[in-house]
Subunit: 185 residues, 2 copies
DNA sequence: ATAAACTTTCAGTAATTTCTGAAACTTCTG
DNA sequence: CAGAAGTTTCAGAAATTACTGAAAGTTTAT
């Protein structure tokens, strides 16, 4: 598992970015290595290539599997397990979005729902609750929408994205197009 | 600056989530406090309410200003500076997205562009470059699209989100609607 | 210009997160 | 079923990140 200079640069960079993307350096590096390598890689090869301990490698691979970014791949006749990306780039990006939503939005939604159940004790609290409610609604819209977009599937999603400023124009024509449905406020 | 139990819960939670949202605990708490408090708050009040050092408070406020989530507010007749949210909830959410995009996507795009300039040294590198190119294109689409969406402004964006599954149907009619333009692959 | 009111900086310390490596565990193989 | 091949766990060490508080810096009022 020799890393070419190009791959090394990319792997290092993904390591640096790792923490911003929700995992740590090592996990970022492992992910990059697995994605950029056409052949399946064993845990030992990962440890060697990145020069990290076998234990750390194991934990990193476990985390990547929990994010559903990497999966095991059994090679017939081989004793050890190999690892490969869990899908194409689009799929991986989707998984990262989804997983982050779970970690970054869902817990907050849940807390907000709870806090909004109690009657406000006074003026100050009433005001705060109003704000919290706004936040809750916003997060809810985002969640619902991101699910919607995922259901569109890669091709349509891509079409939508490439539509660019056309989106604005389409919205203006929306009511003619979809009469009666989805009339908003 | 008494914190009611409700506000305390919310502030603590935003503190915990802080690190997942790209800043640290204290910064998350300060943000929640400022957003949930109708009146402007001074740095000293923030420090007292959250029971953190004055120095840390200063740094946290500075970071929130760099994210453009909080702004100074001068109260006539008062010597010290007060702080208020930099806009409504929608604006703040937008700012968080934008700022995170800058920190999480832009640096990677830039590196990928560089790595794609060099000719591949061999088969292996050619393959890796192909993957990197896919990633680059994906990030580019996301970036372009998020700018597009921001330009729509809150109302239209909201309409679009609430459209739900209507989006799929609209895409099917797209070509009739916007003839000639934006034909996608 | 001096002093009072307030803010920022930053070196050192504390808290948190990540990593190592040895021990425990789990297959497989003959 | 012994032992070889491979994996996981986890306590402690290392690295990173966040926080404090005292000193330096600003601004405003007199």
């Amino acid at each position: 598992m020799k890393m070419t200079p190009l791959i090394t640069s990319a792997v290092m960079h993904f390591g640096e970015m790792g923490s911003r993307w929700g995992f740590n350096r090592t996990v970022g590096q492992i992910l990059a290595l697995i994605v950029l390598n056409e052949e399946p890689i064993s845990a030992q090869e990962v440890a060697d290539a990145l020069n990290i301990s076998r234990g750390n490698t194991s934990m990193g691979l476990k985390e990547l599997q929990s994010w559903r970014l990497v999966k095991q791949h059994h090679v017939p006749g081989e004793r050890k397990e190999f690892f490969i990306p869990a899908g194409d780039i689009w799929t991986l990006a989707n998984r990262v979005f989804e997983e982050r939503r779970k970690r970054e939005i869902d817990p907050t939604m849940s807390l907000l729902r709870d806090l909004l159940l109690d009657a406000p004790a006074n003026e100050k609290e009433a005001n705060a609750q109003h704000k919290l409610n706004e936040i809750h609604d916003l997060l809810e819209s985002i969640t619902a929408w991101s699910e919607e977009l995922q259901n569109l599937g890669p091709e349509k999603l891509n079409t939508l994205m490439k539509l660019g400023s056309g989106v604005g124009r389409m919205l203006e024509l929306k009511d003619k197009l979809l009469p009666g449905k989805n009339s908003v406020n």
